[in-house]
Symmetry: C2
Subunit: 152 residues, 2 copies
DNA sequence: TTAGTAGTGAAAACGGTTTTCATTTGCTGC
DNA sequence: GCAGCAAATGAAAACCGTTTTCACTACTAA
């Protein structure tokens, strides 16, 4: 799968082609310099604050969809009804430790599921194609903050 | 934490107490005899078809919240914007292999994350309190169906 | 019976996301 | 350059699962 500039004849049939449109490039730029996870709205606000003619929210959503399909961005679901996005190395992905208090998150350096795929495949005859994994809890700082304060 | 009949003085301050209200009992009954995951709407429809005065959708949602807090039910998020529910052994939980084609799911008999908590705790100084894990792919039957048909 | 509190339901509100549809943009061939 | 197109875009509306509001009911304890 290759990344190309926008316009020109597309062969795919998706909602939009898998090319980097103008809007998608701007979205990608925002994600490139953010190490936090960003919601569509976050990205939209960021662009409104710096672009003369920023892409609309609709375009941001469409761009994110393309970028995810291109494997440049992953969408992350914390189960709170708001999807978040972040850049990944093309085709890769990673999971997070999310602090329930300060809401910061750190990447896990390796995927815990991938190494299990083989045994799942063998045991359940199930062909693994994807997964969701996010871990919630308390980061070190927040643990300490809670220990000194009157906890929970 | 103990499960009690409804009414009487509650000490908690949540949207509703952690007691088994009439509505919650009906919801639980539906989940008890369903081995598939059910959405709130699923449960609501099921009750409408069999009860003379079925609980409203609002009550179903509120009941599910209580049941989850009681540890009798777990909510499962497949990232498709619709939460699903199922009974669990009190206080336990499990994850699923979800077939992307037929949408059936099977339980994993052990939690892959729990056994990693200790190393996560040690490596990241992160206190694990919860997690989301769902695995998507193709079940055996659907793999075969795709092999015979002109595949995906 | 009488309070008092928890539970309930209908309808409205909410909020993130998707769809619709008319318009703009920028290729491509002529 | 210009016509012709298909893709991209944006504003507004639609969607849809979920939550909130608020008036009312039902249970429990005294």
């Amino acid at each position: 799968m290759s990344v190309q500039g926008s316009h020109g004849h597309s062969h795919g049939k998706g909602p939009q082609s898998l090319r980097l449109t103008k809007g998608a490039k701007k979205v990608l730029e925002v994600l490139e310099r953010t190490d936090e996870l960003s919601s569509a709205q976050d990205i939209h606000s960021a662009l409104r604050n710096e672009e003369d003619s920023p892409p609309g929210l609709t375009t941001v959503y469409r761009s994110l969809e393309s970028l995810v399909q291109l494997g440049l961005v992953q969408s992350v679901d914390f189960g709170d009804g708001e999807r978040r996005y972040e850049m990944v190395k093309p085709g890769e992905h990673h999971h997070h430790l999310v602090c329930e208090k300060c809401r910061n998150s750190v990447h896990l350096d390796q995927c815990l599921v991938q190494q299990l795929e083989e045994s799942i495949q063998a045991k359940y005859k199930f062909e693994v194609r994807g997964h969701i994994l996010e871990i919630f809890g308390l980061c070190e700082q927040c643990q300490q903050a809670m220990a000194t304060a009157g906890k929970k």
